[in-house]
Amino acid sequence: MQSKIKRGVSLYSFQEELFLGKMSVDDVVAFATSIGAPGIEILPEQNMPTFPNITDAQVGEWHEMLERHGAHFTCYDMFLDTKLRKDRLMSDEEQVESIVRDLQLCNRLGIKNMRILIFVRPDILEKCVPYAEKYDVHMGVEVHAPWYLDHAWILRTIEVADRLKTKHLGILPDMGIFMKHYPPAFRGRFERQGARPEVAQFIVDQHEQKIMCEYTIYEVAVKMGGNKAEIAMAETLRHAPFANPKRIGDFAPYFHHIQAKFYEMTPECTDPSLAYDEVIPELVKAGWEGTLSSEYEGNRWIQDVEVVDSREQVRRQHVMFERLIAKAQAEMETA
């Protein structure tokens, strides 16, 4: 059976070039289609300068642009400003109102998936389900490191979705939860900031053994007398979980979109950190049909020493996706 996994990119991946004005959204979409990844994930608060006021004419321009390139929308990344006011948090009603505003815009844009920030409370989302159904948008809570698929906070959303028997609430995994190896790009940056190579190696070794982060942080901060960069590097371990790739298939009914986070790709088109080679076979086996949407987040780790080339990084990731999907299919057919 041919895998129905689709490929796309999040505009987040090109934040460096978009911020600096080196690429336009149009350029990103043209590039995405050129590498066979025509599914476009947008962050309206990044890519629509007049947000939240979007006219029908603007919606039309977006669709015309996508069509011109043979691309289509896949996902809408929402935000929720619970701390909009200095004096108090948003009330529950205001939170629902803000999310409904996003659901409406998502519907006007013809987008079926919405990335829900992980901190949004499950009981707030429960109140939004009738609207998600009305506007036909799947609200996917972003399973982002340091959370992971089986985390109790995530299970609360699954519980709400099951209880309401709704198809419009679930999750949206961010592949950063599958950090099997410590990212070389992180290490390089901390070493340039003054981390001693032997201390950096100690942290990498500890992560490789999956030693619980607090042991390592204490060792580095107290016993080794770590400097600022070393302690900061050790503290990144708090956000560096390696979730079990074998579990992702079990959650497949709850998500239609994946944020394919990555920090760097090697020239050989492999990911030195995240275990895509273990995750993609599980997705293929589960018959998952959503979009792998590139989310490159390496710019902040290398921009101090090199000009960021998000295009090349994203291109390499898609070479890897094609290879891993084909391999997983072939293995299933011979099994």
Binding site: E16, F19, T82
Partner: protein, 129 residues
């Protein structure tokens, strides 16, 4: 994530009469991967050679008119869009000091999903006149 790109050094200029400047201004971007409502921009700290200028002296203008930081606290209908320069103006009698100086710019943001405030810092050696 964009700290080194916040201050547009070429935009630094004095404000007020040329022979008696009353302050200085520069263009800057928001160091965040999305735009943000002005009420969530808690501080815009400007300092020269390590000395932070007073909060009351700073105004912000993204194109809809200058606001003090106090006015920004309740500017719920205005945003600083992603990747877009806004004018940071500082009342500073005499203007920016002559010769080379370090201009530092710090943004303190209230990002709802973060448990702590978010700080962005840029610092540039600049020379005006």
């Amino acid at each position: 994530m964009f700290d080194k790109f916040l201050i547009d050094t070429a935009s630094l200029r004095n404000t007020g009469p040329a022979d008696a400047p009353t302050g200085f201004a520069f263009e800057a971007k928001l160091g965040y991967y999305r735009g943000l409502g002005l009420s969530m921009i808690e501080e815009l700290n400007v300092s020269i050679d390590g000395e932070t200028l007073s909060r009351e002296a700073v105004t912000f203008d993204e194109g809809h008119g200058p606001l003090t930081l106090e006015q920004m606290e309740t500017a719920y209908d205005r945003r600083w869009p992603f990747g877009t320069a806004a004018t940071i103006a500082v009342a500073h009698p005499g203007g920016f000091p002559a010769g080379e100086h370090t201009l530092a710019f710090q943004q303190k943001l209230r990002v709802s999903y973060l448990p702590f405030p978010s700080f962005n810092n840029d610092e540039k050696a600049v020379r005006l006149g």
